[in-house]
């Protein structure tokens, strides 16, 4: 009988020990919050985020893009293209973006055509002071600025590495939720430009031997590109977003003679001295498909 009572006590003590351990485990987890990793306790050293849908890891990302140049001086460019990335991890990928498109005059370009070219009509009045002073810098004829003088970006190819340091989610009015991330990308770029053709002093202005020396030509400029992307994932396979990109490059957007060698002033010649440095900011909008369709989830 005593033995039986003793056994019961031991069972009770073991059960209480288990209960105490369980209660201790439960009570220690109640303080955890998403913002603060506990210094001590079972979550110490644990990842701040778990069970993340890995939208990028081991997947291709195929996205048609529409790109709009910003802060344009005389010509605005719209480039249509595509981006193809492969993501080795959820935070690192590599790929290619390529685009080409159209350009048109900005308000300033149109105003210049209207007032300084069409208004002066230098083809008919070549000896007025304004026409003589602008003979090197302004073409003559309807729509000549856009057709024969102003510079534009015609195409771009950019192999680029993509880093995704920020990953999270997004709520609209506390009702609709989407996964989201912020990506950074950088890489070399090859830019196809259209610029006014170079000319040496004495050949840049209209003359009896060459009444129309204004024309544009293609130039390929190697440079670098970098930027920032906002990506939203309404489903496991489809995303959309926008990228802000800069492509630093020196080029002549106006077709004007503005400088000579060694920083001197205008020299009545068109050459690389007349190019000025631009960051060439542009924004791309895209819809993207992630392949394969299966998505991994982190621990």
């Amino acid at each position: 009988m005593r033995k039986a009572t003793m056994k019961t006590k031991i069972h009770t003590l073991a059960a209480l020990a288990g209960l105490a351990a369980g209660v201790a485990a439960v009570s220690s987890t109640t303080e955890a919050s998403a913002q603060e990793i506990q210094i001590s306790g079972p979550l110490a050293g644990a990842s701040a985020v778990r069970r993340i849908r890995l939208h990028r890891e081991g997947r291709f990302d195929v996205a048609p893009t529409a790109t709009f140049t910003l802060l344009d001086e005389f010509r605005r460019n719209i480039l249509f293209g595509a981006r193809l990335n492969y993501h080795f991890t959820d935070w690192f990928g590599a790929g290619l973006w390529a685009a080409g498109g159209i350009s048109y005059n900005t308000g300033l370009g149109d105003e210049l055509q209207s007032k300084a070219v069409d208004g002066r009509n230098c083809s008919e009045n070549p000896n007025t002071l304004a026409c003589k002073r602008t003979a090197v810098n302004l073409c003559r004829g309807p729509n000549c600025l856009g057709d024969k003088q102003l510079g534009s970006i015609v195409w771009m190819i950019a192999p680029q590495a993509t880093f995704v340091p920020f990953r999270g989610k997004f709520s609209v009015f506390g009702k609709a939720f989407m996964d989201a991330d912020i990506s950074l990308f950088a890489g070399p770029a090859i830019v196809g430009l259209r610029e006014r053709v170079d000319c040496v002093k004495g050949t840049c202005a209209p003359s009896s031997t060459n009444p129309d020396p204004f024309s544009t030509a293609s130039r390929i400029a190697p440079t670098a590109t970098f930027g920032l992307g906002f990506n939203f994932y309404p489903t496991n396979n489809v995303s959309f977003g926008a990228e802000f990109r800069a492509t630093p490059l020196a080029w002549n957007t106006s077709g004007f003679d503005v400088a000579g060698p060694n920083g001197s002033g205008a020299d009545d010649a068109l050459d690389s001295n007349d190019r000025s440095f631009h960051f060439n900011p542009m924004v791309s909008v895209f819809a993207s498909v992630q392949l394969p369709t299966d998505i991994k989830v982190s621990d």
Partner: protein, 328 residues
């Protein structure tokens, strides 16, 4: 026999440890579970220990397993084990209160804005005027009537900071055209701010920060004047005030519950008076040259102007801390 006894104890311990941890990791359950959780989450008057800052949770944590549902017996035992973190709930009184069955998708928002003031110093950079940069400091003050709606004012000071660009000089020289340019003195606006979207990001799966997007609509006044470029010998302009209106799109990233970095793109729209591109010739009725008559200095029509600024600054929310009405 002893092995069996130890096994029983360990099994119970394991069961108790696994059961709650498993429930925390569950994905969202159906309506039945949510209702039960809602009843628990609607528990009123649960106060954090004195001096403790509120700890928020951006997710529907309660919906994930009903962690907010406590039983009196369990609470008593927990309080004995850890009195400092004891949550004091009068279960009898609480059980008699009406239950708000609404379940919020996001509870205890980490950086709650309701009934808080926002002080927002920033610096504005011109984005769309290639001829003159109108950069300058600004200050915004907002009061959040609701988490997603604020009323407030902001103002910018441009005086002394307008700067003409090289592009202006090069274009004027090369094409021999005088582009009408202006300088700004100040502007003030009354605003309504809407915050429709917010979220959180994990940086390298480690550091978590919260952010929101907002839209601002507003109107006010701006003081500007033309800079004389066509006939600077005769023309000098005084500042004049014009009505302005516009909209902004912005983003805030919270470092703490009361401090955030902000970036906003704002378009201030107004009708601008520009310099007359032509110089009047002849004399007026009193024999004075028309070129010196101020009534001939302005262009006959006002110009619709968009002053687009990038505004980068900080947001400080007051008061620094608050109490949540409902438990998680």
């Amino acid at each position: 026999m002893r092995k069996n006894q130890a096994g029983v104890g360990l099994s119970i311990a394991l069961a108790l440890m696994i059961a709650p941890l498993e429930s925390f990791a569950q994905p969202k359950k159906g309506a039945a579970t949510s209702k039960a959780a809602a009843a628990a989450a609607a528990e009123p008057d649960v106060e954090a220990p004195e001096g403790e800052t509120p700890s928020g949770e951006g997710d529907a944590a309660a919906a994930d397993g009903g962690e907010a549902g406590g039983e009196a017996g369990s609470l008593d035992e927990l309080c004995k084990i850890d009195p400092e973190n004891c949550v004091k709930v009068d279960m009898d009184a609480a059980s008699k209160r009406d239950i708000d069955s609404d379940m919020y998708a996001v509870q205890q928002i980490w950086a709650l804005r309701t009934n808080r003031f926002e002080i927002n110093p920033y610096f504005g950079l011109t984005m769309n005027d290639q001829f003159v940069a109108h950069n300058g400091p600004g200050l915004g003050l907002n009061y959040y009537l609701m988490h997603w709606l604020a009323a407030g004012v902001n103002g910018n000071v441009y005086a002394g900071l307008n700067s003409q660009s090289d592009f202006n000089f090069q274009t004027s020289r090369a094409a021999r055209i005088g582009q009408p340019i202006t300088e700004y003195q100040w502007n003030v606006n009354a605003n309504a701010t809407f915050v429709p979207a917010y979220g959180k990001f994990a940086a390298f799966s480690n550091f978590i920060f919260h952010y929101d997007f907002y839209v601002t609509l507003g109107g006010g006044a701006i003081s500007t004047r033309p800079i004389a470029v066509v006939d600077p010998d005769n023309r000098t302009f005084a500042f004049s005030v014009k009505p302005t209106f516009g909209a902004a799109l912005g983003m805030r990233i919270f470092f703490t519950r009361y401090l955030a970095a902000m970036l906003e793109v704002r378009d201030y729209v107004f009708w601008e008076d520009l310099e007359n591109p032509s110089i009047s010739s002849g004399l007026n009725s009193v024999g004075k040259p028309l070129a010196q008559d101020p009534t001939t200095w302005l262009a006959p029509e006002s110009s619709f102007t968009n002053n687009v600024q990038a505004q980068l600054g900080l947001s400080v929310f007051l008061p620094f801390s608050w109490s949540y009405q409902k438990a998680k």
